[in-house]
Symmetry: none
Subunit: 368 residues, 2 copies
DNA sequence: AGAAATGATGAATCAGATG
DNA sequence: TCATCTGATTCATCATTTC
């Protein structure tokens, strides 16, 4: 079913956006074979959440509890995955590629089905979130990334990969399989009456890079799980034709409005390069893990008044207490704070060397 | 089969390293059930690594007449994966966890089998390589990471996670699911006659973090695909008992030599930061009994909005009601729960001090 | 007006001991 | 096994309020 006759054709770029309200499997089965250049899919993750989760300060986390994310068993989810990926493969051109995003809850199931259906994995791409939600209970590692699987239609297939555009986007070095991009917040987040319109809106920067990497202006891009319409908005902006499908009337309306308000870039503006994010800091513990500073090592201040000992987790034992190099440096001096990197020193050939020089050496090795 | 009688027991740390030459499935099936605390596995990415390939039912295929299609190939790999992960699950303690590392070639199959066998995924961890091999042909993104899946034995199982040690290793912020660590090169790379002894030697920093995160000194660590022995070397260094299995005599010898040359850290250097969950419980009433807090003492929150009074039995009188410090804290805020230790404060010299500091002082006195 | 403090929030499989 | 109680736990970013 086509939602109204809101289909838009942008005269300047001669590309169209078509939004379909309906079940993506049935709708894809109704489309002509080998008619799509790129598929980006953000299927339900099958999160399997139990009760409520509260933050330390008492507020409740607004979790994804929508019906569309509920499946009875892994088998039911696998079956659903197999059916929509089969329908997608039929309409994908032989030179087309597919991207599917997910988390550890579902991405292994998706990857297995992709391989079983004959898709050929080109890369798995890690979206590193700069600002993920923390693990409030201190029970696991902060779940700070999601995974995208990028596949061609088959092993020998030729496919679009704009290698040089990616290199240009990345300060003239090859784009890696890990992408560092913030989650979608602020003005970019679509809201209705102050409430987020969709629980899992993807950042535009993510789709920008996907479309830049694996499609060209004029290509047909399909998103079978349209949601808030990020794929459609970026497709229009970058001069790609777009087909979006969603089962929910509310999401279709949100996406239609959003895409209608998106303006295509001028062709010459499409080659904007974007800067790389700054390199992450080096933790003291990293130097311990790397074997550059050994657990048990004694550290002293310049005057050798205070002595502390490095522990296996990168903390410092000092006068019966333990804490970070900064905390223990502050404790030694009775100061509110301290830069442990310059306060603490190691004996090196009779002389004292600040531990910061070890960090500098580590950074030099990384760069080399 | 046990390789010779080279088993070593380090007298200082009272932990042992045992290296076994043999097929890991058979060897694990011969081990006692629920006897291992942590499993780290780096399985082969394809079954042709040793010239051997298994059919779905487990029989060996001659790699020369490879006339099966992709489904058969994946089926054989899935079967192999299912068999070794089943054997691993039997010998894993109910409180144990397993780590499996892989790339997009195999990790989706591994993750699916893990979930199907009832393992419960805790995190997928991305090892970001600072210095990956470039993609020379410019046909894909630089494959700059590998993925580890970390699982408990079942959904409700309790497991070891040294949250505070991980936080300490990361400059006092939660450790994330993406770890930035260089690949194994230079002096750390084991070589024989100038040639690398193993094609996929893992960096010691990676195993250091895995073992620090999910095991404690004295735990039993198993690596069913021993290879160059990085897991064994780090286990010995960190005071864990180790069992390593490999089918290749050459790798067994390399690993044995490497582990023998590894020296354990001094026990006090192995100390890590533990959280309050590990400390002995002290009831609020105990502090009243001990005279550290007197009945009649007034307690307030940080904003001095709520006032309560300590009663002789260690309960708190608040607005005509009475109960524990936690119940009254929750009641004051209208919250479902509350940590009374940090919510309630006492006046001390004009400043407010949380009652938790009194508990801390009491614990210090106990330790002294 | 501008700076600083406070509050809100994001795909989350988020506790453990005791009776 | 289940109900009850204690009490441990958050990072980056943007928006809003207060100083």
């Amino acid at each position: 079913m086509i939602a109204g006759n809101r289909d838009s054709i942008d005269e300047a770029s001669r590309v169209s956006s078509r939004i379909i309200l309906g079940d993506c499997i049935a709708e894809m089965e109704a489309m002509p074979a080998k008619s799509v250049d790129l598929i980006f899919a953000d299927p339900p993750y099958n999160l399997q959440l139990n009760g409520d989760l509260f933050r330390p300060e008492g507020s409740r986390v607004d979790a994804v509890d929508n019906d569309w994310d509920k499946f009875d068993t892994f088998g039911a989810y696998d079956n659903f995955t197999c059916r929509w990926l089969s329908a997608a493969r039929r309409i994908l051109k032989d030179t087309g590629t597919i991207w599917v995003i997910g988390s550890y809850h579902n991405i292994f199931r998706v990857g297995t089905v992709l391989q079983d259906l004959g898709y050929w994995v080109l890369n798995d791409i890690v979206w590193r979130k700069t600002n993920p939600m923390p693990n409030f209970k201190g029970t696991r590692f902060t779940n700070a990334h999601e995974t995208m699987i990028w596949c061609s239609k088959s092993e020998k297939a030729r496919y679009t990969f704009n290698y040089h555009a990616m290199k240009m986007l990345n300060d003239d070095v090859q784009m890696r399989s890990d992408w560092t991009i913030p989650i979608c917040t602020g003005g970019e987040r679509v809201k209705i009456g102050g409430v987020k319109a969709h629980p899992t809106q993807k950042p535009e920067a993510l789709l920008y890079r996907v479309l830049m990497a694996a499609s060209n202006p004029g290509d047909v891009v399909l998103d079978p799980f349209l949601g808030s319409g990020t794929t459609g908005a970026m497709a229009k902006m970058l001069g790609r034709s777009f087909i979006g499908i969603d089962r929910e009337q509310a999401y279709v309306e949100v996406a239609q409005k959003r895409i209608a308000e998106t303006r295509p870039l001028a062709p010459d503006a499409m080659q904007i390069t974007r800067g790389k994010r700054q390199e992450p800091r080096v933790a003291f513990g990293t130097l311990v893990e790397a074997g550059l500073i050994l657990p048990g090592q004694e550290l002293v201040d310049t005057a050798r008044r205070y002595k502390a000992r490095v522990r296996a987790d990168g903390s410092l034992a000092f006068r019966g207490d333990a804490g970070s190099i900064h905390q223990m440096g502050a404790a030694a001096q009775g100061a509110p704070s301290c830069n442990g990197w310059t306060f603490w020193h190691m004996e090196r050939g009779g002389a004292l060397e600040p531990i910061d020089t070890v960090r500098e050496a580590y950074r030099r090795d990384l760069a080399a």
